[in-house]
Subunit: 256 residues, 2 copies
Amino acid sequence: MNLKRPLILVVNDDGIHAPGIRALIEVAKELGEVTVVAPNKPQSGMGHAITLDSTLHLHKEKIAGVTAYSCSGTPADCVKIAVNKILDRKPDLIVSGINHGSNSSINVIYSGTMSAALEGALENIPSIGFSLLSHSIDADFTASQHYAKKIITQILSTNKNKNLCLNVNIPNLSTALISGLKVCRQANGNWEENYDERTDPMGRTYYWLTGEFILDDDGRDTDEWALRNNYVSVVPVQPDLTAHKLLTDIKHLENE
Amino acid sequence: MNLKRPLILVVNDDGIHAPGIRALIEVAKELGEVTVVAPNKPQSGMGHAITLDSTLHLHKEKIAGVTAYSCSGTPADCVKIAVNKILDRKPDLIVSGINHGSNSSINVIYSGTMSAALEGALENIPSIGFSLLSHSIDADFTASQHYAKKIITQILSTNKNKNLCLNVNIPNLSTALISGLKVCRQANGNWEENYDERTDPMGRTYYWLTGEFILDDDGRDTDEWALRNNYVSVVPVQPDLTAHKLLTDIKHLENE
């Protein structure tokens, strides 16, 4: 019998001082020993970026009563340096978030929150990314904490898959209004971009990216369906991008 | 019959002045009308990062005789702004690279080159990322150009799949020594990281990421097998990260 409490690494992409990571630390503290390693500035939309051409710096501090390191790198850097340099044993679980904003559907590929989780799974550590469907700095994380606690407890007690990686998204509703939890697949969808063109005081043109998410999937087994029907969505994710169904279709390229 | 030459958008992640993009422009010019939109500085390891919290700037110039725009953003930003702002018609093909260094196996998820290609496929434009297995600034792109020309010609003339996205890696060999082309899946593998710890002149600790790639796959149908046996590897990729096989395994989470 293992008498040690599980070691939980907490990371995020909104930066170490975001309210969302504090909410997740509070949950993790109840369930295990916690260390935090998180970016020293917001890193939203960083995808699976890593720092190759520059150095990394760490700064030790306390957040919500636990040992924390702010890191000058990306979310994926935080996981790599935590596991390979900072921690003296392998974490039993990595949790990432709670992100301020959705990482459902195609957002997963742009998401720093989920790249940190995927990086954890690549290091053979079960990992979960949590995201709340609200960008508000004053967002209420109560329901997110309720579901994070349920899921973390389950994974710590039953999961045997060291590469398990979950993308959990939570509707911006009170716990009472959430219908429950759905295991689902990533919905097909994409952003239709717009560039807002402006002129700076020196007369130079610059652009802001704006856009609208277009759902291109009417399946009832998707994360988007779950979220639009007030469920927490749980998508298991993995890092193989191969389009296995196309391997035969393009085989002819070998013969040209 | 369409008398217009195909429009080819050329992007990369090593920056608009890298030798690799010039090699790719030379090939693309033979096969169509070319516009270049590429980062104004190296963006290796940027994954699928996009610029959300900052503005984008473009600078028009000429590279290898074609119209080019250097962009202050990431490789994925370059594709988005090219398609949605710069170009007056939809490109028939997007080519990304030629990257200085491999994007086989797990490197695909960290790769700016491949994130640009994947972004193209998300915009319903067939897209191909090319990478040469050499980081040398003096790398010889002759064999890469030979295979890029073959593949681009084939895709332009036969492909009907607007979401097609190919990850092409080329061994660092002369054309004569390359055995041919293999359509394959992404090999399982990962980086074993090491952090080189140093002290700066002010006495502060900093870190450089180093590491070694560990192949964890003995399949003969993988990109790593192909490259180690002197083949050009062609992996079709797609943006659905769902671990479809795990959907049943974790269904029990719904009932807790």
